[in-house]
């Protein structure tokens, strides 16, 4: 076997993660989440190297190119690791996988260039990635480079990373995110927290405001976030009652369609505050069609990369609508958050509908801070424990009684040995099954006299026949 220095020692499937396998988060790395970049480099490398060949030991020589560098070296934020699957180096079916791993804040992107045999790869990769779980598995194209997004599992995350998790996971899928709130648990603060998160990620945010005024909506955001927000005001005069000519002609529908036609390139977030207002003023079908075009805008562009998604955040007051419109909007949404709570603590029940996967549920307890950042809580605050009343000391209630509650030893023995009349023990069973010698079965001796008319069909002689 070629003594390839980067070989990870005796190959064990479970620990076949790349050397130094703890996912190295580049803390300061704020690179844009453009997945295309790593994919391109992967394909480049795949073209340079020999094509994937299962079971060939020649694989071991591949890393001769990089012999000068230690294993797991970060090369511009990536490292190439070689993973040997299977039980032995030369076993048939053993395949080694070439991984390009790019560590970013909070996630690892794994790209596998030029893989031909997909199912094996999938299985091998699952063995490798035991520290995380594969969250996003897009359909694998035949050949070429593709990407998996791996988030470290719950046990790995600690502390502040959990705070980002909920907002990021809500924004990860793209499409329509539906926030359903009620009078008691309002959802506008969560909407503003999501807007703040999107703005901090560098996206431009368009807000169609129908229910609150612009000053009230911008309250609480600092100036650099406010500069990224574009507020389309439908609050002051939506129905053109004041006839000053300030409103958009065509009303709310035209305003919504104008958002569809925006030509600004780059990722964008559209917040609709609120969808309930739009549902009450527009026909449901029109609204749903417009929402569909809004959230699937990137499908019409030819070469859209998954990084440039359109996020549509819609706030819906669920008590105002019947089950029909609610169901339609719910089926349009890729992520649905229902807000409720208990004991003063808000909770969000999140339903993720990722493409080609089963819907997943999650419940999070959270609170929103005044600067619209999210803080996750453990659960509702427990009821205050009723403390024992300090005034009354616990005393034995069986003292000073006028009757006897205690048993002497003989009485206790007699009590224990007593068999209860209706208790079915084995002795009783035997007694019933085998009638004893001394027991006499009971007989009835009856001698009818002259006046008795024994009728078998009417022994009591009371039928009126």
């Amino acid at each position: 076997m070629t003594p390839a220095p980067p070989a990870p020692g005796p190959p064990r499937p479970s620990s076949a993660s790349p050397p130094g396998a703890a996912p190295r988060h580049r803390e300061g790395e704020q690179g844009p989440r453009v997945a295309g970049e790593a994919a391109e480099r992967g394909t480049e490398r795949a073209a340079q190297k020999a094509t994937h060949d299962e079971g060939k030991a020649q694989r071991n020589g591949e890393l001769g190119d990089r012999r000068g560098q230690p294993a797991g070296a970060h090369m511009g934020g990536e490292w190439h690791g070689r993973i040997r699957g299977g039980c032995g180096p030369r076993q048939r079916g053993a395949s080694s996988l070439h991984l390009c791993i790019r560590a970013q804040e909070g996630s690892i992107r794994v790209s596998l260039p030029g893989i031909v045999n997909l199912s094996t790869t999938h299985a091998r990769l699952r063995q490798v990635l035991v520290v995380g779980e594969i969250v996003d598995a897009p359909p694998l194209p035949c050949g070429g480079a593709w990407q998996w997004v791996v988030t470290p599992s719950e046990g790995v995350r600690r502390g502040t990373r959990r705070i980002l998790e909920m907002l990021e996971s809500l924004l990860a899928i793209g499409g329509l995110v539906l926030l359903r709130d009620s009078v008691e648990w309002e959802g506008r603060s969560l909407l503003k927290a999501l807007i703040k998160k999107s703005a901090l990620c560098g996206e431009q945010v368009h807000i169609l405001g129908c229910e609150v005024s612009e000053e009230e909506f911008r309250e609480g955001f600092d100036s650099n976030i406010n500069s990224r927000l574009v507020y389309h005001d439908l609050f002051r005069d939506p129905l053109n009652w004041s006839e000053t000519g300030e409103t958009l002609p065509g009303g709310p529908l035209e305003a919504l369609r104008a958002l569809c036609r925006r030509t600004h390139p780059g990722p964008v977030t559209i917040a609709l505050d609120s969808l309930s207002w739009l549902l009450l003023h527009l026909p449901c079908t029109t609204l749903c069609q417009t929402l569909h075009t809004l959230s699937h805008q990137d499908s019409c562009r030819g070469d859209s990369s998954p990084g440039e998604q359109v996020h549509v955040l819609g706030l819906l007051h669920e008590e105002l609508h019947g089950p029909g419109p609610l169901g339609v909007l719910s089926s349009l949404a890729q992520t649905e958050v229902t807000l409720s709570g208990a004991l003063g603590q808000a909770s969000a029940h999140i339903l993720y509908r990722r493409p080609q996967q089963r819907p997943t549920h999650q419940t999070q307890w959270f609170s929103i801070l005044p600067d619209f950042s999210l803080e996750l809580q453990g659960g509702p605050p427990l009821e205050p424990q009723p403390y024992p009343d300090p005034r009354v000391p616990s005393m034995d209630p069986t003292t000073h009684l006028t009757f006897n509650l205690r048993l002497s030893k003989k009485e206790r023995e007699a009590k224990d040995s007593l068999t209860l009349p209706f208790q079915f023990s084995s002795e009783k069973q035997q007694a019933l099954l085998c009638p004893g010698l001394g027991q006499a079965t009971s007989h009835i001796f009856y001698e009818p006299d002259a006046y008795d008319d024994l009728d078998q069909e009417d022994p009591d002689d009371d039928l009126d026949v």
Partner: protein
């Protein structure tokens, strides 16, 4: 010498009593406040203070004793003010307050807010669709405000729905009337009513502001649904009122909506929930679940939405039970009615 001092003292008292009579302008008087005048006038010398000190006397079994503040306590329900943490001179601005009642009559809340805002020196536009002017006037007099006086000096703009509804049919159609929707066959919008409110509460351009802030009071919105207006139209009306009165002019809007409860009224539910989402404070008067009681007339749930200071550990929801008396409403915690303790 002693007699001379006594004579001076009696003149001193009589002058102040007359002074107070003139400034009280015919308010209902009781012997109790005469003594208060003598005490209070020594500390507060001018007419306004004397008048206010006068009104702090008066009967009221559940009422707290005079807190020594310089504002009249009679005239609204002081215990409700305490529960809501407001006083007339510190009334919040730019808020929508929703009053709703279920299985009971919540109109005492309307009377409270009417007298509260009149006392707070605000310009009030009252759209009264349920009762006549004299009804509100009589109840207002028990609470210490005179609606006739307020209307005459321009502080109160009163739209009496019962009277003016008839006018709609007997005037030429070209002139817009606030209740124009009664003439229309299909459910129109409430734009004429909104324009009436706008006209009434428009801030005067006469330089100094005579009144503190504009207030719109509606009693009540459920009757508009019964008159054929759609729930969305009523919501639009309140939306525009909020945009103009609350946002632009920093005033307040208070509206009463009846909750149908068990009766399945979808339009009413849409109206109630839609207003609930827009409002900052919801006061909900409910009858007791166990039925009618002589000593406890109902319970009041207070829900604050969008608290102004999110960091303050404020109770977002409170529940109190109440009993309505002749001139006052007394509030107590659940189960703590004085009648049962």
């Amino acid at each position: 010498m002693l007699s001379r001092n006594l004579k001076n003292v009696s003149i001193y008292h009589s002058v102040f009593i007359m002074f107070v009579f003139c400034s009280a302008r015919g308010r209902a008087s009781s012997p109790v406040w005469v003594a208060d005048t003598a005490r209070a006038s020594s500390s507060v010398g001018h007419a306004a203070g004397a008048r206010q000190a006068v009104l702090s006397g008066g009967p009221g079994p559940g009422r707290e004793s005079s807190q020594g503040c310089s504002f009249p306590l009679l005239g609204m329900f002081p215990e409700l003010n305490n529960l809501l943490n407001t006083t007339p001179d510190q009334a919040e601005q730019g808020k929508l307050t929703l009053l709703c009642d279920a299985k009971t009559d919540g109109s005492f809340l309307v009377h409270h807010f009417l007298s509260f805002y009149l006392k707070a020196n605000c310009k009030v536009c009252f759209v009264a669709l349920i009762q006549s002017f004299s009804h509100y006037n009589i109840v207002g007099q028990k609470l210490g405000v005179s609606l006739t006086t307020a209307r005459e000096c321009g502080q109160l703009v009163f739209l009496e729905g019962l009277k003016s509804a008839v006018d709609v049919f007997f005037r030429p159609q070209e002139e817009p009337h606030p209740l124009q929707f009664l003439r229309e066959a299909n459910s129109g919008n409430l734009q004429p009513l909104y324009e009436f409110v706008q006209e009434a509460l428009k801030p005067m351009d006469s330089g100094e502001a005579a009144w503190r802030c504009p207030v719109l009071l509606v009693d009540d919105l459920s009757v508009l649904l019964s008159l054929g207006v759609g729930a969305v139209a009523v919501l639009d009306f309140i939306h525009y009122c909020r945009a103009t009165v609350c946002r632009e002019w920093k005033g307040n809007v208070v509206a009463l909506v009846h909750d149908s409860g068990d009766a399945e009224d979808e339009e009413n539910d849409i109206l109630l929930n839609g207003l609930g989402h827009q409002s900052h404070l919801i006061l909900r008067a409910e009858g007791l679940a166990t039925g009618f009681c002589k000593d406890v007339h109902g319970q009041l749930r207070i829900l604050w939405r969008r608290p102004s200071e999110p960091t303050a550990q404020r109770d977002r929801s409170l529940t109190y039970q109440y009993k309505i008396q002749d001139k006052n409403v007394s509030f107590f915690a659940k189960g703590m009615s004085p009648a049962v303790l």
